[in-house]
């Protein structure tokens, strides 16, 4: 992984900033929540305390209080807000939980009967809806039976049967208690029978002075043996109690209810007897839109621990852990979420009458309320943190890019420190920087400087050596020159000639050794001019034919105008031909050919000198152009240092050209070629 990637990875650590911010906000939220819970609990306990020892506030009658348990036949009457028209239609039941599930008795969803019980003013209202597929005849009609306990304790039975839709009058029967005028009672009960496509509705109104603490009903569809209703079908049927909200208690509770809080009082059977009504919306502003999207993301990233769903209670009842705990005498608080996903805070406190728990106060508060307080701050904090994260990441990325650019620049400079002509570029970029990369660059400079010194030393070594050897050689040669030839015997003279020959050879060697170095010095002073390379080769070939009569020279040239240093170019040809002559047998052919080529910088000429003779061995062909490398196998008479092709390379590279070695395709030996650009530019 490169430096940039590594630093980018490190920069991911700055993501801890928003994470830390989220943690802090959750901490804050937790504190706020705690305070809220305390407040709600305190309020709940206060209400519960105020209701203690006062059962008549919760229970309509003491019978309700003392009802031993929750008999299966008990019913709940809604407090109706609107006047009800007795017409067999349910649509004016207003605040009653319609179309919420009807009370479907306890027989499950298969039960064909559904009912609504309501209370408004001095009347009790009952709505029955029966699903019935059969239409009975005159002898077998749909019928409904209602058992009613009057406040006086008498038990009445009201029977309804109707062959056709419309107002119906009950047949009243007194089952027990004081006798009374049943017709009068029947007249006071208003009822309406309505047929629907799937059955029938019965809607009726009963004055409260007839309706006591208990009520029950049974409905039988025509042609069916079974009956459905709130009572057991077995005789004697006993109606259950009906419970309802206490308006006074509700009014009392709504005085206590803080904004956003719903207070309810449940009696010991779980029926709701007081309700402050749905919570008024809080006056705190909801989170503003720009934050909400970001917040949603954060909430998604940092989910709260799972909340239990709010228990779904039957209409008119309370249920759930809070209610259960409060009923058993414990103060309880819990957080749950409703089906819409809103978080709720629920608190419950028992209402006591002496030692006995007579009910419970249940408070409910949307716990999202505090979010409206924290979210803008949180959003600001988080946005800032994210902004900082990106900023830091970008800065680190930039920094890493600069670093890696500097290191890359240093690497490139190091790679190209040695140029084509073997010179060292000892200046490193960025060596003036004060940091570690600057140190590195300086170290490189020092190293390269030393290498350069050493290279220079090696470079000059041959020259120095030649120079130093020259003086003793001069001594030898001048001493030999000084020998008086006349006084020597012929044997001495032969000896002298041999000594002279050796000294001469030594001298040639030393000259050759210095030639390459001297050439490098003279390169800078060469002058470029335009001339015809082809003509030069043709001219020189003539000279070679005269100079080497035992070789066959073939030329293949074209008119090749070139801008170069002619002296140097002729030296190149000389050296190539010298090399070819040395490696070709007597009578061998040497071919000089000139052709057009594509150089690195446009058009170029390639001069190839091939010869008969032995072929080049395997390995790097370019090595033949190195200094002091010779590919000869046998020792010749003339000294050979392998500098000729090195000089060729130096001159070619000085002109911005290149050299190549290979085996000839037309002749039996090797070929060496030089490519020179047409327009001469010194490299």
């Amino acid at each position: 992984m490169n430096l940039r990637g590594q630093l980018l990875l490190v920069s991911l650590l700055t993501l801890l900033l928003p994470w830390g911010g989220c943690q802090a906000i959750r901490e804050m939220e937790s504190t706020l929540r705690h305070g809220q819970e305390n407040n709600l609990r305190t309020a709940t306990i206060a209400v519960a305390t105020s209701l203690a020892d006062n059962p008549q506030q919760i229970y309509r009658t003491s019978a309700h209080l003392n009802d031993p348990s929750w008999p299966a036949h008990d019913l709940y009457a809604y407090e109706l807000n609107e006047a009800i028209a007795i017409d067999g239609y349910v649509n004016d039941w207003g605040n009653a939980p319609l179309p919420a599930p009807w009370h479907s008795g306890r027989a499950g969803t298969g039960n064909p009967l559904r009912y609504l019980l309501g209370k408004r003013g001095d009347y009790l209202y009952l709505f029955l809806a029966m699903r019935s597929q059969t239409l009975g005849g005159a002898a077998d009609l749909d019928q409904a039976e209602i058992l009613l306990e009057t406040p006086g304790g008498a038990l009445l039975r009201l029977r309804f049967r109707s062959p056709a839709p419309g107002p119906v009058v009950a047949r009243v029967e007194i089952l027990s208690g004081e006798p009374a005028d049943t017709d009068v009672i029947a007249q006071r009960i208003v009822a309406y029978w309505q047929e629907t496509g799937s059955g029938f509705h019965l809607e009726l109104r009963i004055p409260r002075d007839i309706a006591g603490a208990r009520i029950g009903f049974l409905v039988a569809a025509a042609g069916s043996e079974s009956k459905a209703g709130s009572m057991a079908a077995a005789q004697p049927a006993s109606p259950g109690m009906w419970f309802s909200e206490m308006p006074a208690l509700s009014a009392y509770l709504s005085r206590f209810a803080l904004p956003g809080v719903r207070l309810r009082v449940a009696d010991r059977h779980g029926w709701i007897s007081g309700d402050s009504g749905p919570a008024a919306p809080t006056d705190q502003a909801a989170p503003t839109p720009p934050y909400s999207l970001a917040l949603r993301i954060y909430r998604l990233l940092l989910p709260e621990r799972d909340l239990a769903p709010v228990a779904q209670a039957a209409p008119g009842r309370v249920s759930g852990t809070t209610a259960t705990a409060a009923m058993s005498g414990k103060t309880w608080i819990s957080r749950q979420h409703d089906p819409d996903g809103n978080r709720l805070l629920l608190a419950g406190a028992p209402i006591r009458d002496g030692e006995r728990v007579i009910g419970a106060v249940l408070a409910e508060q949307p716990s999202d309320a505090y979010l409206s307080l924290t979210d803008p701050a949180a959003a600001r904090l988080l946005n800032l943190a994210v902004l900082i994260t990106f900023g830091v990441a970008a800065a680190l990325l930039l920094f890493a890019s600069v670093l890696s650019w500097r290191i890359g620049r240093l690497r490139r400079a190091t790679q190209s420190a040695l140029d084509n002509r073997g010179r060292l570029q000892t200046r490193m970029p960025g060596s003036r920087a004060g940091d570690e990369i600057g140190d590195l660059a300086r170290s490189f400079e020092q190293l390269l400087g030393r290498v350069d010194e050493y290279t220079r030393y090696l470079h000059g070594l041959g020259d120095k050596l030649a120079h130093e050897l020259r003086t003793p050689l001069t001594v030898v040669r001048s001493s030999l020159d000084n020998l008086d030839l006349a006084s020597l015997t012929p044997a001495d003279r032969a000896c002298l000639e041999r000594a002279r020959g050796g000294a001469e050879r030594l001298n040639t060697l030393l000259s050759a050794l210095r030639e390459a170095n001297r050439l490098e010095q003279s390169l800078s002073s060469s002058e470029f001019e335009e001339f015809d390379l082809g003509e030069m080769i043709a001219n020189m070939a003539d000279g070679f034919r005269a100079g080497f009569p035992d070789r066959v020279f073939e030329t293949e040239t074209v008119a090749a105008p070139v801008v170069a240093a002619p002296d140097l170019v002729s030296q190149v040809i000389d050296k190539l031909v010298e090399n070819a002559v040395e490696f070709s047998p007597a009578g061998g052919r040497i071919r000089l050919s000139l052709g057009e080529a594509e150089g690195q910088r446009g058009k170029a000429w390639t001069l190839t000198v091939a010869n008969d003779g032995s072929r080049l061995g395997p390995g790097r062909k370019q090595r033949y152009f190195d200094s002091l490398i010779t590919h000869r196998t046998e020792r010749g008479i003339t000294p050979h240092l392998g500098l000729g092709l090195y000089i060729v390379r130096l001159i070619a590279e000085f002109h911005g050209g290149s050299v190549a070695a290979g085996n000839s395709e037309t002749l039996s030996g090797a070929e060496f070629s030089v490519t020179l650009p047409v327009s001469g530019t010194t490299s």
């Binding site: 003086t471 001048s478 001297r518 050439l519 000279g543 170019v569």
Partner: protein, 291 residues
């Protein structure tokens, strides 16, 4: 420079075989001044009007820090009849030259612990005598050294590759030039080629009548080229003509220097043409080079 040269008065006595010049009476001797035989100074003295020829040996000073080389050169030159004085370093040579100048000086550039002592010495000598022939004989043969040596006014710059024979030839040539300079009236052998006039005795060249300051080596090269205009001389031929041993690049720089000297007088000078791959040739005036 010559002790008898200062004697100018005296009766004429020209009727002497093999000698030319003026006779002068000094004390009881008659002296014949500024004479030479075979390019060697000759003193002729006579007391009874019968001349007696005595060779006056010319003095050559060799300033060279390597004793063996010094002795070898000295031996060779002595065999040729010269008087040779030897100096190992610049101070002793300068001291010796302060009292008396030699007739010719051969100087090595690196002298003992002075790497460029020869240059300093040359500068000193040239300041004292514009005519004194000075030859640099050194192992240093870089282009820069050659140019600096010649710029200081040396008459020639030779590398130690040169053989003793070649060195003596050079010395003789220089003396001949000096001698012919001292006889301004004497008509030397001249070679005229277009605008170029070469005085073969004095080894001087003139271009359009103006003097071109050529070293002996350069003179011989120009001579080799100009003698047969149009003929290409290759490097070996030039080297032979100049009686020296030079490598290719040194010949190239010699030719370059010659061209520059001519061009200093005549910017349009282009008589020396390079025939790439073959050598050089002298172009006849007004003639274009054959293709």
């Amino acid at each position: 420079m010559w002790p008898w040269q200062r004697i100018t008065a005296g009766p004429d006595d020209r009727d002497r075989p093999n000698v030319s010049g003026r006779m002068a009476k000094s004390g009881k001797f008659w002296l014949l001044a500024a004479s030479h035989r075979n390019h060697r100074p000759v003193v002729v003295y006579s007391s009874q009007r019968r001349p007696v020829f005595i060779e006056m040996k010319r003095t050559i000073a060799i300033v060279e820090d390597e004793p063996s080389i010094r002795e070898n050169y000295a031996d060779a030159l002595r065999r040729q009849g010269y008087r040779v004085t030897l100096h190992a370093d610049r101070p002793t040579a300068a001291d010796a030259f302060a009292s008396r100048l030699p007739d010719l000086v051969i100087i090595d550039i690196g002298l003992g612990d002075e790497p460029e002592g020869g240059f300093a010495l040359c500068r000193e000598l040239r300041a004292r005598s514009p005519q004194l022939p000075i030859i640099f004989l050194t192992a240093l043969d870089s282009e820069l050294d050659v140019v600096s040596g010649l710029r200081l006014g040396a008459d020639d710059y030779l590398t130690k590759d040169i053989s003793l024979t070649q060195l003596t030839a050079r010395v003789v040539a220089l003396f001949r030039r000096v001698d012919s300079m001292q006889q301004p009236d004497a008509a030397g052998t001249e070679l005229t080629q277009g605008n170029l006039t070469l005085d073969l005795d004095r080894l001087t060249a003139r271009w359009n009548g103006e003097h071109v300051a050529l070293t002996v080596t350069e003179f011989w090269m120009v001579h080799a080229l100009a003698r047969r205009p149009g003929h290409v001389k290759n490097r070996d031929q030039l080297m032979e003509a100049a009686s020296t041993v030079l490598d290719d690049s040194t010949i190239t720089s010699h030719i370059k220097r010659i061209r520059r000297k001519f061009q200093a007088l005549d910017p349009a000078f282009d008589a020396i043409q390079t025939v790439y791959g073959m050598g050089y040739r002298w172009l006849e005036q007004g003639n274009q080079a054959p293709p």
